[in-house]
Symmetry: C2
Subunit: 158 residues, 2 copies
DNA sequence: CCAAACGTTCAGTATTGACTGAATCTTCAG
DNA sequence: CTGAAGATTCAGTCAATACTGAACGTTTGG
């Protein structure tokens, strides 16, 4: 991996680190997006990132749960290979939609806590819910349009 | 503030705490969305949240910079009043668009780092950029549609 | 001009949580 | 069955950072 690649890996580490996951998970993900060959063992990743095997193990566990990384085993080989499968970023954007769902639920409980307070006081949260509900609805719709366009242009499902 | 309100405040604290800002900023924001009256002084907020005045000061500074909170002074009153102005959540969603811009820039640098590697290796980042560019374009468009609809329905700009 | 009320700053503290590395478990070859 | 190589787990360490609280600066009323 060249210096630019290392910078990319570190940038992805910061990015995912500030988006809920750990920096190391971000670095692993970044590396799996640019590595050659595209499939790497945990040991190879640890060596390339100068990180402990334990950290890699925990990171790929996170990434697997979020479907950002795929784990494959070849028969007659006790090693496990990790890679970034196609469609990862569609998953990523879908997760962003989940954030809005979480926010909407919080806001709804907030509105309930106001009980029968007069409308001017409720207006703040009601306006918030309007926006959040709208975005929550639009994100999946936008992604579906994207996937449909892509399928039409390339003939591929992903 | 009742127990449900306190739960809402705490939930907003966790939410904003895991979205780049600090938990205290989230609590302050949450409180300003449900408090009565809607305008509160720093001292009142500190007392209600059982937090130090220093923490409130730092939090409102953050929230002001992000345009989540407005600061107003009344003449003949040395106190400053804080409140959550209308349109805050549209701002919030716009900020989400900025995240995608940041991600796009990172991915573009990553693609550059691959130099003249063969297309199969570049495909991973190229697919990622397709999705991210699409979402980055769609978020502002979606919000503009929302603002336009709202203006048409209510006759208000916000 | 003085005093009081309010907000800000910043050094110190406590807490969180990510990473390390050794021990353990698992899987395959011989 | 035994040994070796890989992956996982987890207790411990370390660094980042959010919050506290006292000291300071600022503004207004007397």
């Amino acid at each position: 991996m060249n210096d630019e690649g290392a910078a990319f890996v570190e940038a992805m580490g910061q990015f995912l680190g500030s988006s809920g996951m750990t920096p190391m998970a971000g670095r692993v993900w970044g590396y799996l997006l640019i590595c050659d060959p595209p499939e790497q063992t945990a040991g190879e990743i640890a060596a390339e990132l100068h990180a402990s095997r334990g950290a890699i193990s925990g990171s790929v566990r996170l990434l697997e749960a979020a479907m950002f990384v795929r784990r494959t085993r070849k028969r007659g080989d006790r090693r496990e290979y990790f890679s970034a499968p196609p469609g990862t970023f569609t998953t990523f954007a879908m997760n962003a939609g989940a954030i809005y769902r979480r926010l909407r639920v919080i806001l709804e409980h907030g509105l309930e806590s106001l009980g029968d307070k007069p409308p001017p006081l409720r207006a703040r949260l009601e306006e918030a819910l309007d926006v959040v509900r709208h975005v929550e609805r639009e994100i999946p719709a936008t992604l579906e349009r994207f996937v449909a366009d892509r399928a039409a242009n390339t003939g591929n499902a992903l």
